[in-house]
């Protein structure tokens, strides 16, 4: 009894004995190799294959249904070995054909490759394979690995990795490459005979090879499932977050520890000029985030279920399309909105001129939105932007102190805004409302300024400039830090000023005694 292999040659099915199959396969591979660089090589190959099919067909009848080794040898001798009938001209190298004419063996494929030498292995053939590659005694490599085992323990890991990544020789051609011998018909026949004579040796080690495959395969399977599960969980959480962010209000803890529900669309509503821009921006962000998340989800599902995805290509293209669409949306909304910020204008309002006082006292008034809610020692920028009744409240007016050019105190407010044009910018700056109260030498500032929601957020700012004349004093009330150079980094200094009196000497404010 002999094992047969079913092959398709030129569209015809042949049952071919295993040993005959090996020879035929190597023959065709050799031929393919020879023809690789020949012009019309594919066609020649197809023609020869067709002829082989024809010759096989002639050798089959009702009483003989299997191609044997003898048949294959006969057919090969009829057609001839590639090195016999391919003229030098048909080969790529057309130079002096001395070497080809001289040597019966073709040295066209002497590349040496590393394989696990499973025929001479102790565990997985890694060491003997490496030894084979470098042409050294396997004992040396094994000793080196043994030292690594005991020396650092990394040897085991290295061995397993090499076991997994170094292939085992699958064909006799591979075995020849492992030995660095040219893959030609003579050597292949030798090798085939050798393997045939020594089948027991291979069988013994079949077990260990399978073991390697199992360990590698199972490890990856289990690892893949864990990763896949994590991917599914992560992406589901991300999808829920994305949806609630986009379609609802989301909740977060404020510093005071109470839940506060904020609809993020309200905030973006004051950023985008038109509803179309806002929609494009949101749709863009939504698509750009959803696509990768969904891709991770699908990959996770595939890893866990190990199902082949028939529609991978369609889904891939759809995702690519949606992602691109999202990017385009964002670019449109982004450029539109950036244009809205392209021009800046500002104007000054001189609030007070105080000549009859030697000392002024400034502080920030209490209000219902900011002073009672915001912890000014540790605040979030988002807390300083609030929306109430068609007005945007911004909690960061800035205070700057300067030396006065004359003997009077001056209090000046500088309003600024950006806009699509200077005109729109100045219009928006004019719409800013800021409250200051004065009674005698006491000046109370509001902790916020506001502007109509329809103006949109265009980086409106209010800067209070207080000019102190030489030799006169200014006292900072306890709440001053609510507006003191809020956006500057060196708030330490500002906190120092609170509840203290300073005197202007020359151009500098000096702590008064």
């Amino acid at each position: 009894m002999k094992k047969t292999v079913s092959v398709n040659i030129s569209g015809f099915i042949f049952n071919i004995e295993e040993d005959a199959y090996e020879i035929m396969l190597e023959y065709l591979n050799t031929l393919k190799n020879h023809l690789k660089k020949t012009e019309g090589g594919d066609e020649i190959y197809t023609d020869i294959e067709a002829r082989i099919a024809e010759l096989f067909q002639e050798r089959l009848n009702d009483n003989k249904q299997v191609i044997t080794l003898d048949d294959v040898n006969e057919v090969i001798s009829i057609i001839g070995k590639p090195e016999e009938y391919l003229f030098d001209e048909d080969m790529e190298d057309q130079t002096q054909s001395e070497s080809t004419a001289e040597e019966v063996d073709f040295d066209y494929d002497v590349e040496r490759r590393v394989f696990r030498d499973t025929d001479h292995s102790i565990i997985g053939g890694v060491c003997s394979g490496i030894a084979r590659y470098f042409d050294v005694d396997p004992v040396i490599i094994r000793l080196a690995f043994a030292l690594l085992f005991f020396g650092f323990g990394t040897g085991i890991l290295l061995y397993i990795i090499l076991w997994i990544i170094i292939p085992e020789p699958k064909s006799n051609a591979d075995r020849l490459k492992m030995h660095g011998r040219p893959v030609n018909m003579e050597n292949l026949k030798d090798q085939f005979q050798k393997v045939k004579k020594n089948p027991g040796r291979r069988k013994d080690f079949k077990r260990s090879t399978d073991f390697a495959k199992d360990v590698g395969g199972n490890f990856f399977k289990v690892f893949g499932k864990i990763v896949g599960f994590a991917m599914i969980l992560g992406s589901i959480v991300a999808i829920i977050a994305l949806f609630s962010l986009t379609f609802g209000s989301f909740s977060f803890y404020t510093d005071q520890g109470n839940f506060e529900s904020v609809n993020i669309h309200e905030f973006t509503g004051i950023l985008f000029q038109t509803k179309v821009d806002a929609f494009l921006a949101w749709a863009g962000v939504f698509l750009v985030s959803l696509v990768p998340i969904t891709a991770i989800l699908l990959t996770g599902i595939q890893l866990v279920t190990e199902l082949k995805n028939k529609y991978a290509k369609v889904i891939g293209w759809t995702f690519a399309g949606l992602f691109t669409l999202g990017v385009i949306f964002n670019v449109i909304a982004g450029t539109q909105t950036l244009r809205e910020f392209s021009n800046q204008s500002e104007f000054e309002e001189r609030l007070y001129q105080i000549g009859d006082q030697d000392e002024i006292y400034i502080d920030v008034m209490e209000d219902q939105y900011f002073s009672s809610n915001v912890n000014y020692d540790d605040f979030d920028l988002m807390e300083l932007i609030q929306l109430h009744d068609d007005y945007v409240y911004i909690g960061y007016p800035e205070l700057t102190l300067q030396a006065s050019p004359d003997t009077n105190f001056h209090v000046i407010a500088i309003y600024s805004s950006r806009g699509i044009s200077n005109k729109s910018a100045i219009g928006k700056a004019e719409n800013i409302i800021y409250e200051v109260e004065r009674s005698g030498n006491q000046i109370l500032f509001s902790p916020y300024f506001k502007f109509p929601t329809e103006d949109k957020f265009r980086n409106q700012q209010v800067e209070i400039v207080i000019q102190v004349p030489n030799g006169k004093k200014i006292t900072f009330g306890p709440n001053t830090r609510r507006i003191l150079d809020r956006l500057d980094d060196d708030r330490e200094l500002d906190l120092d000023k609170v509840n203290k009196t300073y005197e202007m000497r020359g151009k500098n404010l000096i702590l008064a005694d």
């Binding site: 012009e39 023609d47 024809e54 002639e58 001839g80 016999e84 004419a101």
Partner: protein, 112 residues
């Protein structure tokens, strides 16, 4: 200079001439061409023929049509193209010239 090389070159040129001659009378598929060439001991192994046919076809000298076969894959039936005809005519006159030249040369040597 290898004798093998020269023999191969000579053989190849003449082989092409023979193939064209076979096809000048009627179309044929490779197996037919092979059996004729084998009979005249022009080729030993069949593989020799396929690269030649492909090259001649690619050079526009031969063309082929497919025909179903009862005993295997469809066959390519080769014929000469018009270019092929004139190419063959040229080869024929060259061959006449060459063989008479060779004959003359050899006869002179033999007569000496």
């Amino acid at each position: 200079m290898k004798i093998e090389n020269t023999k191969q070159q000579m053989r190849k040129g003449i082989l092409e001439y023979c193939i064209l001659t076979i096809l000048s009378h009627n179309e044929a598929y490779p197996s037919e061409i092979i059996s004729e060439l084998k009979a005249s001991k022009m080729i030993v192994v069949e593989g020799t023929l396929y690269p030649l046919l492909t090259r001649l076809k690619n050079a526009g000298i031969l063309t082929y049509r497919w025909e179903e076969s009862a005993s295997g894959p469809p066959r390519k039936y080769y014929t000469l193209t018009e270019d092929g005809e004139s190419f063959l005519a040229e080869l024929e006159s060259t061959w006449e010239e060459l063989s008479s030249a060779v004959e003359t040369t050899r006869r002179k040597r033999l007569n000496k």
